[in-house]
């Protein structure tokens, strides 16, 4: 119980610190929302009037307190530039990013588990070296480059898939999937390559354990031993990496969203910074911070599920 309390407290403090840092940082950046909204049609009087309307002429701490108070009531505020409620807008975008990240992670897992097991089983053979080499290449390729190459191959040359864009799932599930296949692959291939290395090395170190030798001595075949006894014991380091990767993916999705023109959270964040739309940026940051911390929390809880020795702590 005290563990949960401690984790929740960490989460709250992290949100407050992160949001305040972002708030302060954006406030000292040159340029403000009123100037951007008025563009080259700005006059000093118009900028002052609009700043008053936005409330950005107030002291920083007052603005922050105002925003934080709204957030406590579940209100993310209203965008300076588009005058929309920010909460629903973030929710929409978050749903898109979650699909993107979840699919990418799934691709990574489907790729990394078999590849990692094979690479471990073929340890010190030519085939194993080949798999290791391939995964090394995968790690070296950044997701956006993978994206560009995939678009060129499958959208431009073959013409089988769209080069970018997004259709909401509720609108047309098939079209939704068609638009997401390439982004999933470009996120998943790279992360899968990373994960493959961890699965392989975790399995290799498990293989040297006594219980594996015992299992083999009792007549369990090599493959069966690897899958039944090896994998569960290799799970903890793999889950740790998985948690880190998931957090990375959430942030890394920003770039992939840009390459594939997907209206996700990253796109919203970039636009918010560009427009100096303070409250919008704040909202997105809070959501990202919470998401990352929740992922960490779940990873932590998973350890306890996977390893009975941790439960007593």
């Amino acid at each position: 119980m005290s563990h949960v309390v401690r984790r929740t407290a960490t989460l709250l403090v992290s949100v407050v610190v992160a949001s305040f840092v972002v708030f302060a940082f954006l406030a000292v950046l040159p340029g403000n929302a009123a100037e951007v909204a008025l563009g080259t049609n700005a006059t000093p009087a118009a900028v002052a009037r609009l700043s008053r309307e936005f409330g950005t002429d107030r002291p920083l701490l007052v603005q922050y307190a105002d925003w934080a108070q709204g957030l406590l009531h579940g209100d993310f505020g209203t965008s300076y530039v588009t005058h929309e409620a920010i909460g629903p807008r973030i929710a929409n975008r978050f749903a898109v990013t979650v699909w993107l990240v979840a699919g990418g992670m799934l691709v990574a897992l489907l790729l990394a588990l078999p590849a990692g097991v094979l690479a471990a089983a073929w340890h010190r053979t030519g085939r194993g070296a080949l798999l290791s080499g391939l995964s090394q290449v995968g790690i070296a390729v950044p997701a956006f480059l993978a994206g560009i190459l995939l678009v060129y191959a499958f959208a431009v040359r073959v013409g089988a898939l769209p080069a970018g864009g997004y259709t909401p799932l509720a609108e047309d599930p098939q079209d939704w999937a068609r638009h997401l296949v390439l982004p999933w692959l470009s996120l998943g291939l790279v992360q899968g390559a990373v994960l493959t290395r961890y699965v392989r090395s975790a399995l290799l170190s498990v293989q040297r354990q006594d219980f594996m030798r015992t299992a083999r001595a009792k007549g369990v075949r090599r493959w069966a031993a690897l899958c039944r006894h090896g994998l569960p014991n290799a799970a903890i380091p793999v889950v740790t990496v998985l948690g880190l990767q998931l957090s990375n993916l959430l942030v890394g999705a920003i770039v992939v969203e840009r390459v594939f023109v997907i209206p996700g959270l990253g796109d919203l964040l970039l636009r918010g910074v560009q427009d100096r739309d303070l409250l919008l940026v704040q909202g997105v940051v809070v959501v990202l911070v919470v998401a990352v911390l929740v992922v960490n929390l779940v990873t932590d809880l998973l350890y306890r599920v996977l390893d009975p020795r941790l439960r007593s702590r």
Binding site: L29, P30, G31, N32, E35, V36, A37, L38, G39, T40, N41, A42, T43, P44, A46, V47, R49, L50, V81, T82, H83, R89, R93, I148, V151, Y152, A155, V156, R157, V158, G159, P162, A163, G164, G165, Y166, R258, V259, F260, V261, P263, D267, L268, L270, R271, Q274, D275, R276
Partner: protein, 499 residues
């Protein structure tokens, strides 16, 4: 009207189709009544009366909204929702005779009351500086249901012109409650849906008063990344690439059996500004030296693959008073050096603070190089655009030199305002513009020509080039506007051929 978030590259043509071959597939994935256009800058809202940005009028003006008058491809003012208009002899009174078969998309008829409402609304509701053009209006009154009389405080040709821009858009008295999301106009199209961050869908207005548009739907898709935009065109996801960002990428689209390249003129002048209130540019000789020191042809070749028009003053080919090459300065580095020596400005260090936009960065490097050859040391500082550049260069004029495209049509006035970031203060120029504005339309052209010549001789700035209106379109599309003349990218005349 001033620079813009991104050069409002819009349309153009001249069907300069290029060579052959290349990779295929994906084409012909269209139906004959739908069009998808890929663009770069996305509207922040759909209300151009309260939000700036070229993207909003680009999407809506001439498609969703119409004015009493409109501008044609040659830059001439033509009847719009007014079937004709009279200008009084003293130039102070315009009487508009409205069409009587026009309906808004909310079902209401367009009447003189709506016209009066829309004209007055600019002065009360609009927040942007362009709305000041309506300050010349003394009164707008309804004569009868189909006639509106507008009296100006002083004669103004510009006022009539401004009525062809977004500030002349006609609104329904009952249709302005939710303009940010649901615009109501009289145009050939109406907004069907808007997915922020992705696309804006226009559908044909079935009650349109004019010729029936060939297209049922037009989807404007917005791409933040020009690579993604090119790929979408190659993959056949879009039928028109509305703004070619870098002309060197045109080689991607050389397959004549699929694509046509449209290359027309725009109203977007790429201006090399010099802060006229600061040393060394307070001295006219230094400014002139800069103009002589730059090899504009080489610059255009290096940075825009030679596409674009060389200009010498704040003007574009669609202006009735366009003087062509006569305002340009020849490339003469020896003369530049002489002028700098006379002014005692050799070896001066200059801070060039530019927006971090690709065209500005590439032009800045060439300018830096060429000015170094005549002994000026230029330090380039790219600033984040829009926020930081607007704040420091545009609003506070904290710069020596800068480069940005001034996209708005007929924006000669920006040099007449001494507080504008050029800090160019020449009452003679301002007087000439005033005279041109007040005179008869015939005299106006001559006066504008004189004013622009003065601007060029004074070297108030240097004009690097006029941005080409460069598009790539599916080969079987017809009727795309070749030149970007006004603010709107109009689709009423676009159709698929032979399908």
């Amino acid at each position: 009207m001033p620079p813009r978030r991104i050069p409002a590259l819009t349309l153009s043509a001249a069907l300069v189709t290029v060579t052959l071959a290349g990779c295929g597939s994906g084409a012909d994935r269209h139906s004959t009544d739908a069009l998808t256009v890929g663009l770069v800058a996305e509207p922040a809202t759909l209300d151009f009366s309260t939000t700036d940005g070229a993207a909003i009028p680009q999407a809506l003006l001439g498609n969703v909204y119409e004015g009493l008058v409109r501008i044609d491809q040659q830059g001439r003012i033509q009847p719009g929702l007014a079937k004709s208009y009279d200008r009084s002899a003293d130039g102070r009174t315009y009487t508009f005779h409205l069409r009587n078969n026009v309906k808004f998309t909310n079902g209401k008829a367009f009447t003189a009351d709506d016209a009066v409402f829309s004209i007055n609304r600019v002065r009360t509701v609009w927040k942007l500086k362009i709305a000041q053009q309506m300050d010349d209006v003394r009164s707008a009154t309804k004569v009868d249901a189909d006639t509106v009389k507008v009296t100006l405080k002083r004669p103004s040709n510009n006022w009539l012109y401004s009525m062809t821009t977004r500030i002349g858009a006609m609104y329904s008295r009952d249709g302005v409650s939710d303009l940010k999301e649901h615009p109501v106009g009289t145009g050939p199209f109406e907004v069907e849906s808007w997915q922020r961050g992705d696309s804006l869908v226009l559908k044909r207005n079935t009650g349109y008063w004019g010729a029936r548009p060939a297209l049922d739907t037009v989807t404007l898709k917005y791409f933040k990344d020009s690579g993604a935009l090119n790929n979408a065109m190659l993959a056949g996801d879009i039928n028109v690439l509305g703004a070619v960002q870098a002309p060197e990428t045109l080689s991607l689209f050389k397959d004549k059996s699929r694509f046509q390249v449209i290359d027309g003129s725009s109203t977007s002048e790429v201006v090399l500004s010099m802060n006229n209130s600061r040393k060394p540019f307070q001295d006219k000789r230094v400014r002139q030296a800069v103009r002589y020191a730059i090899d504009h042809e080489a610059l255009l070749k290096t940075t825009r693959a030679g596409r674009g028009t060389l200009i010498g003053s704040q003007e574009s080919p669609s202006d009735p008073w366009y003087a062509g090459a006569s305002n340009r300065y020849p490339y003469d580095p020896a003369k530049a050096k002489r002028l700098l020596k006379e002014a005692g400005a050799e070896g001066t260090s200059i801070r060039m603070r530019i927006p971090n936009l690709p065209y500005a960065v590439s032009a800045a490097q060439v300018v830096q190089d060429q000015l170094a050859q005549v002994g000026l040391k230029v330090r380039i500082e790219p600033l984040e655009f829009p926020a930081r550049w607007l704040s420091e260069v545009f609003d506070k004029a904290d710069y020596d030199m800068s480069i940005i495209a001034h996209a708005e049509p007929r924006d000669q006035w920006i040099f007449a305002d001494p507080h504008y970031y050029f800090r160019y203060d020449n009452p003679a120029y301002a007087r000439l513009l005033q005279k041109a504005d007040a005179g008869s339309p015939q005299e106006a052209s001559a006066d504008y020509r004189r004013a622009l010549k003065l601007l060029s001789q004074d070297a108030a700035a240097d004009w690097l080039y006029l941005v080409p209106n460069l598009m790539v379109a599916d080969k079987s599309l017809r009727g795309l506007p070749v030149n970007q003349v006004g603010e709107g990218l109009e689709f009423a005349g676009v159709r698929w051929s032979g399908k």
